[in-house]
Amino acid sequence: MKMLVPVDTNPYSAVAARKAAKLAINTWADVTILGIQTAGSAANNMPDAALSSAMSAYCKAFLSNAGEMESPYGDGEPAPWRATGNGVWETSIASETAKKSLRLMVKKGSTLDMILEQAAQDGSDFIVIGSPAKVADPGWTGELDLTAKVANKAPCSVLVVKEEKSVNTVMGILDQDHVSQESLELINQMVTVHQAELKIVGLATAKGLDERVEMKMGEVLDYYASKGVKAWITMVKENEMEDFAARAAETSLVGIWLGKKSFLAKIFSKDRVSQLINATNSSVLVLK
């Protein structure tokens, strides 16, 4: 698995780095922590000092959260930054014991474009990105609603991390029969990391649950049962879904499968995803 963790210098990025570490240690992911240096800032030949210093701290926090004994990332210090392209700097953990890569990268450019570009270049399976807990809190510079835009436009699943709080239920909302194996595994990881229960929510039309969705829910239920994960089934009608998801997000980690064929993509239009992300102080998982 390849995980991308875009960061800036705000506290939510530290929360995202810690969350990413817990997921990474469970999945043995190759991780890229990506800092974006907006055009015009800092010196030309080195990454911005505040950003690189914050990234070193995130890296340290990542390694300590990944656990020293079983960590696949080793326990060394990041090597000095080196330029690897025009406005691109990289470093990684220099550890002989590392089995998986932990790379730090700074790119200069538009925040959204750089995140999407890096996700495409790496073939990322998963993006973990921090977001201010409240709309009024300081957020990503240069881009309004950045996290919602990343969640909408990224080719892979995205976890928008807000403040750290205990999650006792992970909720996966489903309305289509296309569910990728990666997304099932991600949900499984979320359940494991939070030691939470799983709720599989099917979206029903006025006529009831689509036969294919129902079959897929059954398969998903079997999949988790075989892994010993306790899963609850719930059905929600289209016109109740938005309120349901917003309410649920207060206490659960809400995961929404947003595939191309998804009706949820209509209910949770780009604006709605923004609203869900902005309206709650909980983390939101957009599955693809």
Partner: protein
């Protein structure tokens, strides 16, 4: 041996009901009769006599194939009373007719848990549930049955609850707790002293103790149906009585994600 009529269709709810029943059969000496009802949309358009019988036979055959497919997929380990019964007509009428001819100890069906209490109200408000004389098990989710909760509240008849429960389950076959639910509008549930409801709770505890049951936890909770339902998620089965009117107890039954046994 107890007999149960289980209604199935080829869907997730029935799949869960079958699998849950298979688990239940480890606790209760149970023999199952599978039933399925095909409800034709325009049954008056298909004439009379031979034409109608042929048409009905075709529908029955399709229904039987549906039931067979599900039973083959689930391959549950249960004793069956006979071959699956497939009927054509109104679901409630056909099920009530089957129950009137064969006095089953239990009726079972799967219903997906929904976020809307109205769906549950319309299920329990249906002619089938109003007229049915045996207890009914509504399987909303597939969970392990390692602990049972007897749910009491205002309007719950202790005699009905204890006699129905003890008719189905043998003493000490499973750990049992007892909870009295009070409604309050406040968001956070509050646990109250058991002695507050001692007289009422004893009407449940004593007859069960006489039959060899030991109620492990006896609790009284005050809260909203939504929050209390959330507290009870660990129970593999919640047992209560049929609510006769819309009340907080009814709403709690609707909001519970657990399988529920409704005593009559």
């Amino acid at each position: 041996m107890k007999t149960a009529l289980i209604y199935i269709e080829e869907n997730l709810a029935s799949s869960m009901a079958l699998r849950y029943t298979s688990r239940l059969a480890n606790l209760i000496d149970l023999a199952l009769q599978v039933i399925h009802v095909e409800e034709p949309e325009n049954k008056n358009h298909f004439g009379t006599g031979w034409t109608r019988r042929t048409w009905e036979h075709g529908i029955e055959e399709a229904g039987l194939q549906e039931v067979d497919r599900l039973l083959k997929t689930e391959r549950i380990d249960c004793r069956f009373l006979g071959s699956p019964v497939v009927r054509v007509g109104d679901r409630d009428s056909e099920l009530l007719s089957e129950m009137s001819h064969h006095p089953y100890n239990l009726y079972i069906e799967g219903r997906l848990n929904t976020a809307s209490v109205r769906d549950f109200y319309s299920l329990l408000g249906s002619r089938l549930y109003r007229k049915m004389t045996c207890p009914s098990l509504i399987v909303k989710n597939l969970v392990p049955i390692d602990r049972v909760l007897l749910l009491a509240a205002e309007g719950v008849d202790p005699d009905q609850l204890t006699s129905c429960f003890s008719r189905l389950f043998d003493p000490e076959s499973i750990p049992v707790d007892l909870l009295y639910f009070h409604f309050q509008e406040n968001d956070s549930p509050v646990w109250e002293q058991e002695h507050e409801m001692a007289d009422y709770l004893n009407e449940i505890i004593t007859p069960l103790a006489d039959k060899g049951w030991n109620i492990e936890k006896k609790q009284v909770v005050r809260g909203t149906p939504e929050k209390v339902a959330d507290l009870l998620r660990d129970y593999g089965l919640v047992v209560s009585t049929f609510p006769t009117r819309k009340c907080p107890h009814y709403e709690l039954l609707a909001m519970l994600p657990n399988p529920i046994l409704i005593c009559k």
